[in-house]
Amino acid sequence: MSPIIQVEHLVKRYKNSPTNAIDDISFQVAAGEFFVLLGPNGAGKTTTLSVLTTTLAPTLGKVEIAGYDLTRDANRVRAHVGIIFQQPSLDQNLTAEENVRLHANLYGLYPFRPAFWLMPRAYKTQVHELAAILGIANEIHKPIKTLSGGMKRKLEIIRSLIHQPRVLFLDEPTTGLDPVSRRSLWDYLTRVRAEQETTIFLTTHYLEEAEQADTISILHHGKIVAQGTPAAVKAHLVENYLLVDADDRAALRQELRQRQIAFSETPLFRIDLNGVSAHQLLKTIDTPLTTVKIHSPSVEDAYLAIIQEHDDDRAKTNGN
């Protein structure tokens, strides 16, 4: 299957800047995939997203989205993508329904009418459905200001989906939301993804949100420094280890030495698994254990390790 997003040797250098904000990156996203772009502040995530969503012209490189060239066919690309910006982009002067109606007009879904009651029946039905999903049937004709932060975010997502985009770009969509709103937003997005097979392209600082991704790409100083499935990115660390402890710590220490099992005391006994299964290893230990913990790296562990590794490399290079 051909990728829905194809980025080849993309470079973006801002005017009057001595360095590239995006420095020759290439990647592909398959249709229906959940793709997460991670990176520290200033890594180039928002710049990448701005280029992919046509609000910023690339300096070099080629980008195709839904089969259309980003530079030549920007409007066709726009018709096939939905975008949730980092900053809320609802018009505070309008009601929730007026925001949705404006979007529908901008995307050519319905003819313009100056009032809700003049709109086609299909539109009214649609709005009532949306209000029901959001639980704001009573607020749909009230100003945006009266909605909570979580509701506003949900409304933005619903609004961005009404033209049935093939790709939904989300730029840190849950920043500033409370845990309940975040969970409810992700439940909704997961449902949308399952029902509409929408490709999700996410940037986030909440690394647990990346655990469910099909592909993670880590951007650092404008370059992709790691990419793959969450499992593959974590494998980079090879940091699966076991933490054990016993009442008779001296006996455990002696047994581990006898069996030539490498360990360190942290103060729990840390034993790197190095490909051996935890079960296999535990079977070889006779000393009665009081604590057994298996540690698998999270995406956050992998992310921090990768960023640290690249910062160290850069420091060495600059030092030379």
Binding site: Y14, K15, T53, T54, T55, L56, A57, N75, R76, R78, A79, V81, I83, F85, Q87, P88, S89, L90, D91, Q92, N93, L94, E98, R101, L102, H103, A104, N105, L106, Y107, G108, L109, Y110, P111, F112, P114, P120, A122, Y123, Q126, E129, L161, I162, H163, Q164, Q196
Partner: protein, 272 residues
């Protein structure tokens, strides 16, 4: 989510027309819901016409052929509408820096559609102001009949659209709202005088006359007066160019402003 029924064809005239109407209507709603802005937009023209026009008429008008009240009324009406849209267009600068216009900029419509929508929106905002000023003029006994009333509305509409295009041309070269606020007094204030808003400019020294000819506002003001004073003895004393010439100059420069402004704005927007 089935929402495509009754859809205007994407990318066609219907789609762009709906988008222009929607963007324009948004500006009108925003204006009508902003009470402070509503109040202030009416206040300044009323002060100009009431105090300046009334005062000059009382001081100089009695001993001259000029009806200063009507003269200043027409000048301020054209200037208010022209400047209102010109400055309103600059809200695109604000919009692109915060919140909402991102939504407009990523929608699948031509950049010209966005600009036209914005200009029509600001024109819609300017027209109620114009109507309010005309009613105030009637209260102050500015001579009025149906033909003049219609002429003022028509030329007021043209002045507002023309101001929008001028604002667009400015916008292409202004990096931020802050820069706009610093620049605007130098762009707008001198034109109050070089365009003859408050005082006649029939006998300017050659150098000032050149500056006056380069002031876009002059043509909007003169066109409005051309229709207002049509077939009156004061026409030859007050009106500088025949209405067709003012209209031709406005139409030509409107197109120039729009093309230059939009190209420059879109370029500045994407090529950061």
């Amino acid at each position: 989510m089935e929402i495509k029924k009754n859809a205007a064809p994407r990318g066609g005239i219907g789609h762009n027309g709906a988008a222009i109407a929607a963007i324009a209507y948004r500006d009108l709603l925003k204006f009508l819901r902003d009470r402070a802005r509503l109040f202030s937009t009416f206040l300044f023209p009323l002060i100009f016409i009431g105090f300046l026009g009334g005062g000059m008429q009382a001081t100089f008008g009695a001993n001259s052929e000029y009806d200063f009240l009507a003269f200043i009324f027409t000048g301020v009406l054209a200037q208010t509408l022209w400047q209102s849209t010109a400055m309103g267009i600059v809200s695109l600068l604000e919009d692109r820096q915060n919140d909402f216009s991102q939504e407009i900029f990523v929608s699948p419509i031509s950049r010209y559609t966005i600009v036209f929508g914005k200009i029509f929106g600001e024109t819609l905002v300017a027209l109620p102001q114009g109507l309010g000023i005309i009613l105030f003029g009637i209260l102050l006994q500015v001579p009025m009949d149906a033909a003049r009333f219609t002429g003022l509305l028509a030329t007021g509409l043209l002045a507002a659209l023309y101001g929008g295009a001028f604002g667009m041309a400015l916008l292409g070269f202004i990096p931020s709202r802050r820069a706009a606020d610093q620049l605007f007094p130098f762009v707008f204030l001198p034109q109050y005088f070089t365009a003859g808003v408050f005082m006649p400019i029939n006998n300017l020294p050659p150098l000032l006359n050149i500056v006056s000819l380069l002031s876009p506002l002059r043509y909007a003001v003169d066109l409005m007066r051309g229709l207002f004073y049509w077939n009156t003895p004061a026409y030859s004393d007050i009106v500088l160019f025949p209405p067709w010439l003012n209209f031709a100059i406005m139409a030509t420069s409107f197109l120039g402003f729009m093309v230059i402004g939009t190209i420059q704005f879109v370029r500045a927007e994407r090529n950061r």
